[in-house]
């Protein structure tokens, strides 16, 4: 039945030690090899602070309620 098992995702398949199912960019949790706290937008010179949930925290954060996002990444 669909939904019974977790579907495979490409980043997770490519390097499971570094990307979980969600592969979200979480500014408060570093990727194993680099910080995710800042980002450079295309066309910008300076980096800016990365927003949680790409700035859609208000809309999507409840979906992750109660999850430890350092473990479910």
């Amino acid at each position: 039945m669909p939904g019974e098992t977790m579907p495979a995702t490409s980043w997770n398949m490519s390097s499971p030690s570094e990307y979980g199912f969600y592969s979200n960019v979480n500014p408060t949790v570093s990727h194993p090899r680099w910080s995710q706290a800042r980002e450079r937008r295309i066309g910008d010179f300076l980096k800016r602070k990365t927003l949680e949930f790409n700035g859609y925290a208000e809309q999507v954060a409840p979906l992750y309620a109660g999850m430890d996002l350092a473990k479910n990444f």
């Binding site: 490519s14 390097s15 570093s30 090899r33 680099w34 910080s35 706290a37 800042r38 450079r40 295309i42 010179f45 300076l46 980096k47």
Partner: protein
């Protein structure tokens, strides 16, 4: 040598000239800062490999003149490495020292990269003739085997930062392995000859 050296010097500048040209023409893609940084790192490693190929080249061709290009090639490796580090500090991080420090401490490929750069800086600083004289040829030669470690470290640094496609780091690693393998084979051969000679003496 009088024409060869300046010609090689000019040739060594062509990657940099290409980069400046592309940057001015907007040909570096969507993330030009990353492109600049990667390009400079690639060429630092390539010049290190070119420098390490001088000795095998001399042995293979029997022309000793190659060695007279070695210091210049090595200094180009250092120059490209310096620009690589400068582009990381000044372009990518824009002098965000706390972030840079966190990178050095936490990200192992950055730690390795910094160690390699330090080694190249030591090699560059001890490259003038006066310093070779002061150190003495033997000690200088020993110190400059650091170049092998720098090569190994640089290849590791490359492998560790790549996300998915390991082809290019593998190619560079294979070239390095061949260059260091050549030296190892030569050393083993000499050792074999020495022990054979010693045995001969003993039996006589």
């Amino acid at each position: 040598m009088r024409t060869l050296k300046p010609a090689v010097f000019a040739l060594c500048l062509t990657p940099l000239a290409w980069l400046v040209w592309q940057a001015a023409a907007g040909g570096l893609g969507a993330n030009p800062i990353e492109a600049v940084n990667r390009f400079l790192g690639d060429w630092a490693l390539r010049f290190l490999l070119i420098t390490l190929s001088v000795t095998p080249l001399r042995d293979a061709t029997g022309w000793a003149g190659w060695v007279r290009l070695r210091r210049m090639l090595g200094l180009f490796a250092f120059a490209y490495a310096f620009l690589h580090v400068a582009s990381y500090v000044g372009l990518d991080q824009f002098f965000a020292w706390p972030e840079i420090w966190a990178d050095i401490v936490k990200r192992r490929y950055i730690t390795v990269g910094l160690l390699v750069f330090t080694a190249l800086a030591v090699l560059a600083a001890t490259s003038p003739k006066a310093i070779i004289k002061r150190l003495g040829g033997r000690r200088w030669k020993k110190l400059h085997t650091l170049a092998y470690m720098a090569g190994v470290g640089a290849v590791f640094h490359y492998f560790m930062m790549i996300k998915a496609d390991l082809l290019l780091p593998s190619v560079h690693a294979a070239v390095l392995a061949a260059l260091l393998g050549w030296r190892l084979a030569g050393r083993l051969k000499r050792q074999g000859k020495n022990t054979a000679a010693r045995r001969k003496i003993q039996t006589v």
